[in-house]
Every structure is written in structure tokens, then in C-alpha cells.
Homo-oligomer: 241 residues x 2
DNA sequence: CTTCATTTGTTCGTATGTATC
DNA sequence: CGATACATACGAACAAATGAA
């Protein structure tokens, strides 16, 4: 009965899951870069031969991955391909807390620490003997905020960003920043008392930069451990009731 | 004519960007886990008070992030929240090669190496003195394939997976696997001769496991460097014409 | 094996909000 | 201010896949 039905299925399968793929290929073959505009929805409908809704869902998919960026009333441009999707996925996994209490968050902090350790030699070598006013200023502001008993999330995030920027690996910077985002997004959603060792945390950042500037890799790695140790200890305690 | 339409605008604004958020909240408040079914599209339309198209686009977004998984003709279930979105984003960034030749791929391989180095102590400690038949078998098969001049991607991927599994950090395993996927997906799409030092690569894997088993962290780290060195060298050469 | 209900996939038409000129 | 182009949203209809009766 259905012997004669020639590949109606695979035909659809080829298209269904690949409307987004076709748009990606179009971006590649057109040599577009981040920020360049891509064809409008109606143009894509004609070029790809699919309906408006399909194009919209495909664009939604690509926008979710930050491969394109939709600007309401203006158009769609090629995106920055950031790690935003990674952040959203892992934040949700963290707040879902799959039975194992805090395991997801602990793994995120664990990886932050591991990344900092892995990059320690390079961080130290690029900052050795140099003076970075931005980092010095950030450390000062963190110390001031700590004295005033106020948090300093913005400075914290920017500090880690600036510290890794000169190593020359964009992906590394983005990964560290992404895990920072995940960490700070998940932590408040779980109703546990924040450590709030503000002074200790601010001081740890100062130690990080100072040891890097002095070219002391061992001291830098000790500062990394000090930086995460209170938080990791709290997570371990909380997760073993 | 439309004077009676009360606040259609702000109402829409509130909902527009949060249809996906509402579904996420529904998953959380319902205490659903990976694999559990979520309401059907029509049910979500009623519960959230939006059209089917909006629900579909929201679900598409969540499916892209692997927060849900859609099964045609069956329904939608909570997803695994894997790192698939990270892989797709970075693969595309890799093949887009933004002017800087091979820089994206080089950074990915660089991060693979950094992750392996960061986890070296833990890998060595969990394998020290133990016998893992799976890893031994994988090394044997890689050596056999190398002798027969055939690639062994499947064994390679599984080797790194098995090697890191016992460290107890799911995220670390997934990150390493994700970067492996990105690396092997991007490399063939750039038309450059693969190194194809099959024997050397197979031998490097044997060295990795052997040094871990013997508890020699220094030897393990040397094996990591040997494992990536040919590829990194090729990338550096190719990118500086 | 067939039939049927359920669910997702695709398409079309229409109306509305939004940004640019 | 209007005009145009674009994205956003909704609803209805039909196609395709799945699973159970």
C-alpha cells in the first residue's frame, strides 16, 4: 500500500530540521559577519520555499543560540554567538536541582576554580611587571564596598573579565564569564544564606592581581583556592545533611 | 472602533518575552524531572492564555536549549539540559572563521588542553592502581585502527569520556565531551589536511591511561601536551601565513 | 493489520505593534 | 505628522507521526 510512497518522509525530515540549517548555510555562503543584516522573514520564505511560521521558528531557534539577533521593527542581523545559551541551560539545570542537592551548582563553582587554575600560568605571565589601572581601581572599589557592607557583583564580574582579557583567548574569557553568570544567577535562587564574607572576598581579588603582577604563580594559585574555598565548603556542608 | 481594547500593549509586553519563562516556571513548580512529560501545546495555550503559535515558538526556544525535548506525534518531555546548544553555537562560530583564520578552532583546542590539565590531578588520583577494562580495550582498538590506517573517532570520544567519568563532576565530563564534539565537527569543514598521525595519537591515549594508572601526574600532563601538540602546532602554522 | 484518537508539524490569512524615514 | 517596512501575535485548517484499541 505504501510501497510507492517515495521518500515523502525523508523529504520532510530533510527540510524540517534544516530550515535553520539552511539559514545558517545562507549566512556562511553570503560571507556575513556579526552585525550584518540577513534577509527579512518574507524574503526567507521565498528563498527557502517555506511558510512564514517555519521561518519564524527557525529564526527563533538561531536567536536562542545567539547565531542571529532579532531587532523588533528593524530586522534580523547575525549575532555574536556568545555563550548565552550555555548560561540559560545551566542556570535552569542549577535551579532544577535534580534531587542531588546543590550538586549542579557545586560543579559549576568547581569548574570555575578549575578554569582559573588551568589559566594561572598564562595569567601570571601576561600581568607580570605590568600595571593595570582598571584592575587596581576595581580592587579598590571592591574593598570600599566591602567596608560599607555592600555587595560588589558588578566589580567582581568585571575583575575576572579584565584579568583574563590579555591572555588572548576569547573563548576562555567567555567561559569564565559564563560560569560566573551561572554561579551568581543560581545562588540567590536557592534560599540559603549567602556567605557574605565580603572583606575576605575583596581581599582575595587583591591577592589575585598582586601575585599575578609579581609573577608569583604559586601565590596566584593559592589566592584562587582562597577565593573559592569558603563557597565550596558551604556547598559541601549544605549538600550533606 | 478599538477604543474598548484595554491595555493590549503592556499586557503583550509582559507576556511576550516570558512565554518560555512561564513554561520553565511551570516545570519547576510541578517538580518535573528530565523525561517527565509536560502539558500538550493546546493545554499550554489554555493555561497560559496565548495562541498556539506563541506556545510553539516558546517550546522551540526551550527545545533548542535542551530544556525540553519534542517528540513528533507523542508529546513534549523535560530535556536533559545537555551542552548541545553550546556545541552548535561554537561549531558555527568555528566554521564562520571571523577573519582571523582558525582562531576560533585554536581556542577550542586550547581549552580542551587546559581542561585536561586542570583535571589532571583528579584523573590521576581516581585511576591510580585501578584497572579499567573499558579504557584498556579502547586503547587496544585505537592502536589496531591506527595500524590499519583507519581513523577511530568513536573510540577517541569514548576514551576521554570514560577517563573523566570517575572524577564525579558531570559538568566537567560534558564540557570535555562538548569541546571534543566542536573540535571534530569544525576541523573537517575547514579544508586543510588532517594531521593523521594516527599511530602517534593512539599511542598518546595509551600514555594517558598508563600514567594515570601509575599515579604519575607529571607523566600524565606530559602525555596531555603530547596529545595536543601536533594539532596545535599545525593550527599555529596555518594561521600565520 | 486496520482504525482511530491524540499530538506535533506546516501553512495560510489577518490584524497589530514598532522603528525608520 | 504620515508612509513604509518589519516583526509580533492570533486563529483556523490540514498534514504527518505515534500509540492504543
Amino acid at each position: 500500500m505504501n510501497d510507492l510512497v517515495e521518500v515523502p518522509n525523508s523529504e520532510l525530515r530533510m527540510r524540517r530540521s534544516t530550515t535553520a540549517e539552511q539559514i545558517k548555510r545562507l549566512i556562511l555562503t553570503s560571507g556575513l559577519r556579526a552585525g550584518d543584516p540577513i534577509p527579512t522573514e518574507t524574503e526567507l520564505c521565498q528563498e527557502l520555499g517555506v511558510s512564514r511560521s517555519s521561518v519564524r521558528e527557525a529564526i527563533r531557534r538561531l536567536a536562542t543560540l545567539d547565531i542571529v539577533e532579532v531587532r523588533h521593527g528593524h530586522g534580523t542581523v547575525v549575532g555574536q554567538m556568545s555563550l548565552a545559551p550555555l548560561v540559560e541551560t545551566l542556570v535552569f539545570r542549577g535551579v532544577l536541582s535534580p534531587g542531588d542537592d546543590l550538586a549542579a551548582l557545586r560543579e559549576v563553582v568547581d569548574m570555575r576554580c578549575a578554569l582559573d587554575m588551568a589559566l594561572s600560568d598564562r595569567v601570571v605571565s601576561v600581568h607580570k611587571g605590568k600595571n593595570n589601572p582598571t584592575l587596581l581601581d576595581l580592587v579598590d572599589r571592591m574593598l570600599a564596598h566591602a567596608e560599607a557592607e555592600r555587595p560588589f557583583l558588578i566589580e567582581d564580574r568585571q575583575f575576572h573579565n579584565e584579568l583574563l582579557l590579555p591572555v588572548g583567548n576569547q573563548l576562555a574569557v567567555q567561559l569564565v564569564t559564563a560560569f560566573w553568570d551561572i554561579h551568581t544567577a543560581v545562588l540567590p535562587k536557592l534560599d540559603l544564606a549567602l556567605p557574605s564574607d565580603l572583606r575576605q572576598t575583596a581581599k582575595a581579588h587583591g591577592d589575585l592581581y598582586r601575585s599575578a603582577q609579581q609573577g608569583d604563580a604559586e601565590a596566584y594559585r593559592r589566592a584562587v583556592v582562597d577565593h573559592y574555598e569558603p563557597l565550596l565548603r558551604m556547598l559541601r556542608v549544605k549538600s550533606r545533611p
